[in-house]
């Protein structure tokens, strides 16, 4: 039943992707409400899935790689829904949906939904640490998407080859403002996640801690460079993409090591 909800959710996001591709191929892309509605519906099904899974587990559904991917996809959709009315109907939704489809599609296809025996009662600090960190990843994912949109538009402006998609992208300065806001949001949540990790009252693997602090420092450096005007917007946008790839790799690593040494 819960997997069915997830399949329906993925189909909703897929509908947004297909519509965008068809429209872009025909050269008649319109930033209508369809994408927002499709993503909204997908988000409702995601929430229902996570809720059922959470009740079944008696804890936050972050016990294996499958659940982590779904939670991450849910966080991306959540931040997209919250990021502000200015971006809801813009092309950002069209860029968000493929990322969610990719995450959920992989989670559904790959044999990663392995149930681990629960040895200890749920630890609220650990759950808070994990969930808030993944929501931070959602904000970083959106910053990455905005970064890609920035780079696409920047390149078209530089090369003077303006395609149909160019006319639907938000202005460069607005996109950069969105990137900055998303970076601050993600950074704040990630800091909270790291700090809460130290309250879990159980030893954390040294490699994970070092890698997490490394990611934190990377985003701190991007924001510092932005604040001190040392980094041009184009570089900030590129670093958002690099940062998210690094963060995703770390998340994979953490979850993989957690599976080899399962958390209670």
């Amino acid at each position: 039943m819960d997997r069915l909800l997830l399949i329906v959710s993925t189909l909703c996001f897929l509908a947004a992707v297909v519509r965008t591709i068809v429209a872009l191929r025909a050269g008649i892309f319109r930033t209508g409400q369809f994408n927002f509605l499709a993503i909204g519906l997908g988000f409702i099904f995601q929430t229902a899935f996570l809720s059922i899974r959470g009740h079944a587990l008696g804890r936050c559904p972050l016990t294996n790689l499958f659940e982590v991917f779904i939670f991450l996809a849910w966080s991306v959709a959540l931040v997209y829904m919250l990021v502000g009315p200015a971006y809801r109907l813009s092309l950002m939704g069209a860029f968000t949906a493929p990322l969610v489809v990719l995450l959920q599609g992989f989670a559904l296809i790959a044999p990663i939904d392995i149930r681990h025996p629960v040895k200890l009662p749920a630890n609220p600090w650990l759950e808070f640490h994990a969930s808030i960190s993944i929501i931070a990843y959602g904000a970083f994912a959106l910053a990455c998407i905005a970064g890609v949109m920035y780079l696409v538009q920047e390149r078209q402006l530089k090369t003077r080859q303006l395609h149909s998609i160019f006319y639907h992208l938000p202005p460069l300065t607005d996109l950069f403002a969105a990137i900055t806001r998303l970076l601050w949001l993600g950074f704040g949540l990630y800091t909270l996640g790291i700090v809460s990790g130290f309250f879990t009252s159980r030893p954390l693997p040294r490699v994970q801690v070092v890698a997490a602090i490394g990611i934190w420092m990377l985003y701190a450096a991007i924001l510092q460079g932005r604040h001190l005007r040392r980094l041009a917007p184009k570089r900030v946008a590129a670093l958002c993409v690099i940062g998210f790839v690094a963060a995703l790799t770390l998340l994979w690593g953490i979850t993989f090591s957690a599976q080899t040494h399962p958390l209670p």
């Binding site: 050269g27 319109r30 530089k158 303006l162 149909s164 006319y167 460069l172 300065t173 980094l231 041009a232």
Partner: protein, 356 residues
Amino acid sequence: MNLFCVGLSHHTANVETRESFAGHAESDCILRRAGCAEALVLTTCNRVEVYGASEKRVSTDEIARCLAREIEKDAHQCAPAFYRYEGEKCVQHLFRVASGLDSMVVGETEILGQAKKAYESARASGAAGPWLHRLFQRAFHVAKQVRTRTEITRGSVSVGSVAVDLARKIFGQLSKRKVLVLGAGETSERTARALVSRGVTDLRVSNRSSDRARELAGLVGGQAIPFDDWRDECREIDILITSTSSEAPLLTPANLAPMLCDRIDRPLFIIDIAVPRDVDPRVNEMDGVYLYDIDSLQSVAEQSLALRRQQIAAAEAIIAEHVPDFVASISRGWNRVSRTAERPSIADSSLRALEL
């Protein structure tokens, strides 16, 4: 009742011929002289067309004579330039005209306003009755659908409007942006005016001749800056329009780099419309600098036009949906009128009834 269109346009006649027939006959004049039940004259710089509804056939020559009579031109000489569409073809033609598909610049929207004005004028004079009312209302509806469901109006096709569109794509709202016009030529004046019309309020003008700078600043509501100070202004401004007659580039990566130090997070949009160019093309490679010279602007305009042309098929498909439907509905109207043997009144109440 027969719907028809007789006219000439840039497709069939040169400007000399078109101006011989333009603006000399009003719709009521055609109505009176040619014996139509209803008539409407649509005159633009690219076309002169008469749309009419009549019980009996009104010849093309008769319409041409009506259009030309005021200047005593021999309409017969220009007869080959006239085209004629009747019934379904007439409906299709008007839908294409209103949607901008028949325009010289495909997708231009000015024609819709001109068609609306022509219709209002004909309706006010009583020359346009219920048949033309239905025809034109549907044409306006179809044109609106074409605009919203296709990208036929997307992008700008003139150098000035391309520059303004690009500025908006970089900066969003232009109201708080600072613009420097370097060199007070005609093209920079047009571009500056276009920016002012889109909300720019902080506009500075610098020219070797300070009198000309003051003159242009006065015309566009800007502020004249001494020519020696223009480099200092580059630290503050967001958009630079340059069109001086300098033989050597005024801006190079070497002299622009120090100006960009304090503004790394603020883009600089440079519109170089000078020939020879005022700005070294390598400036475009610098972070946050977007340089467009006259060829680049022209190229963007051509890309927009190509994009519009790609949309013609989609627009034609929308028109093809509406034409048979409209023809069928108007045929039903004619049959009803024939049965009651009443000629429809051109009073507003009838128009409303038919509109419903």
